[in-house]
Amino acid sequence: MGAGRLYAAVAAGGFRRYATYRAATAAGVFTNTVFGLILVYTYRALWDEKPHLGGWDQAQVVTYVWLGQAFLSTLAIGGGGVEGELMERIRTGDVAIDLYRPADLQMWWLATDLGRASFQLLGRGVVPFLFGALCFPVYLPTDPGTWVAFSVAVLLAMVVGFGIRFLLALSAFWLLDGQGVMQISWIAGYFCSGMLLPLNVFPGALGEVVRVLPWSALLQAPADILLGNADPLGTYAFQGAWAVVLLGAGRLMQSAGTRRLVIQGG
C-alpha cells in the first residue's frame, strides 16, 4: 500500500471514530451555540460603543464569532485533539507499538488529527455557524473564490494546530505528567488565537506581537481571508512557514524522545 493511501486510511479512521460519538457531538453543537450567542451580544455591545473597531462592522464581527465557535473543537484550540491520547500512550509506553508500525509517528498522528478535525468541522462547526447566519445579520462573501481561498487557509490552520499540539504532547517523554503543559498551552491558544477577543482589537504592541505568533494562523488568518481583510498568498506564506517550523521541531523532538524511550518489559 502506498504511503498516501495509508495515511488517507488513517485519516478516514480518525474521522469515523469521532463520528461515532453522536450524543457528544450534539452536546458540543449545543454548547458552541450557547457560547456563540453570549459572545455575539458582548461583541455587538463593544461595536455599538465603537463602530468600525479593528476595521470591522457589526456583521463581520458576528461572522467572526461563529467562525470561532466552528473552529474551537476543529482546531482543538481548547484541547480535545489527538494530543491527549498520544501523551497517554507515551506515559504508559504504548507509543512503542506506534513506533513499531511501518509508518512515521508524526505523519500517522497528523493523519489521525486531520481526520478528527474534518469531522469536528462538519459535525460541530457547521450547525452553530448556520444558526448564527440565520439569527443575526452576518457578513458572507458571495464570490466563490474567497471561499476556496478560505478553505485552503483552514487546512493550513489544521496543520499548524497539530504542529503545536504534537510538540506539546512529546514533552511527555520528559515530563510524564503533561497536564500542566497542556493547560498552559490551552490558555495560550485561547488568548493568542483570538478566541477571547479578535486579534485586530488588541491594543498597540500587544496586537503586533500576537499577530506573529503561530496561534494567529489558527482562527484569525482564515477569518481575515473570509472577511476580506487579508491577501490569501501572504496568509498562506505565514501559515506555511509556521507549519514547516513546527513540524520540523516536532521531528527533532521525536527523534530525541524515542532515543530516550525505555520500554518496561512485562
Binding site: Y21, A23, A24, A26, A27, G28, F30, T31, V34, F35, L37, I38, Y41, T42, R44, A45, L46, E49, K50, L53, D177, Q179, G180, V181, Q183, I184, W186, I187, Y190, F191, L196, L197, V201, F202, P203
Partner: protein, 258 residues
C-alpha cells in the same frame, strides 16, 4: 475523606499541582484580561464602566468558583455511567452524590476562587459605593446563594448524564456559559435572553439583581427592588429541584453489566 485522598494524590506531583493551580488562576484571569482589553478601546459596555463590570465578574466568578470546587467533579459522572464504575460508589456506605463530588477532588480549582476574589476586592476599592449595613450584609449572602444556584446547576447536569451518558458538554453550556454570561451587564443581552435566565434558569439571582441594588443601577426587566434580597430563597428552591432530579436520575441508572 475521599477529597483528602485526592488532595494527597495530587500533592504527589507537587510541580504539576503548582502548574495546574497556576493554570487555573491564569485561565480565569485571561477572561478578565479580555474584558480589560475591551475597555482599553471603550469607556463603557452596555452603559456599565469597567469597575462595575468587574464587580459583576467578581461576584459571579467567586460563586461559580466555590461551586466548582465543591461539586464540579460531577461533570465526570457521564464517564462513570458509561464504563460502569459508578457501581463501586453505589456499594459504599456513603451518599453517592457526596462521593461523586469528592471524586478527583481538585484543589487546583482554588485558583479560580482566588482570582475572582481579587477582582471583587479591586472592584469594591475602585467603586464609589455608599455602603450601608444592608449592602455589606448582602455581599456574603449573594456569594453563598450564588454558589448554591451554581451547585444545583451542576447536580441537575449530573442527573441529566444518567440519561445522556456522553453528553457532559451540555452541562458546560449552563455552568461555564452561565458564569460567562453573568460577567457582562444585563443591558448587553436581548430581553428574551435576560427573561430566560431570570425566570427559567434563575442565574440572574447570582449577581445581576443583588449588584443592581448595591450599585444603584436600574433593575433588568423593571423588576421590583425587593428581588435583590431573594437569592437565598431562589438558591434553596433550585437545590431542592436539583436534588429531586438527582434522585430520579440515580433511580433510572442501570449498570453496564460488564
Amino acid at each position: 475523606m475521599i477529597a483528602g485522598m485526592w488532595i494527597r494524590s495530587t500533592m504527589a506531583y507537587r510541580a504539576s499541582f503548582l502548574m495546574t493551580a497556576f493554570g487555573s488562576f491564569a485561565a480565569t484571569f485571561l477572561d478578565f484580561v479580555a474584558i480589560m482589553l475591551m475597555f482599553s478601546r471603550v469607556d463603557a459596555l452596555g452603559g456599565w464602566p469597567l469597575p462595575e463590570v468587574a464587580f459583576l465578574y467578581g461576584l459571579s466568578g467567586t460563586a461559580f468558583g466555590l461551586a466548582d470546587l465543591v461539586i464540579g467533579s460531577t461533570e465526570r459522572l457521564g464517564r462513570r455511567v458509561r464504563d460502569g464504575t459508578l457501581d463501586t460508589l453505589l456499594v459504599r456506605p456513603a451518599p453517592v452524590l457526596a462521593q461523586v463530588a469528592a471524586d478527583r477532588f481538585a484543589l487546583r480549582r482554588l485558583g479560580r476562587v482566588t482570582q475572582a476574589g481579587l477582582v471583587t476586592a479591586w472592584a469594591v476599592v475602585r467603586l464609589d459605593i455608599d455602603w450601608t449595613p444592608l449592602k455589606l450584609l448582602l455581599l456574603p449572602v449573594t456569594v453563598v446563594s450564588g454558589c448554591g444556584i451554581f451547585c444545583s446547576v451542576f447536580v441537575a447536569g449530573a442527573a441529566f448524564q444518567f440519561l445522556a451518558q456522553d453528553a457532559s458538554e451540555v452541562q458546560n453550556a449552563f455552568t461555564y456559559g452561565g458564569t460567562t454570561l453573568l460577567q457582562y451587564p444585563p443591558t448587553v443581552f436581548a430581553k428574551e435572553l435576560v427573561r430566560g435566565v431570570t425566570f427559567v434558569l434563575p442565574l440572574a439571582f447570582v449577581n445581576w439583581l443583588p449588584a443592581a441594588f448595591v450599585l444603584g443601577r436600574p433593575y433588568p426587566l423593571g423588576l421590583p427592588e425587593w428581588v435583590a434580597f431573594t437569592p437565598p430563597l431562589v438558591a434553596v428552591g433550585c437545590c431542592a429541584l436539583a436534588g429531586l432530579a438527582w434522585r430520579a436520575g440515580l433511580r433510572s441508572y442501570r449498570s453496564t453489566g460488564s
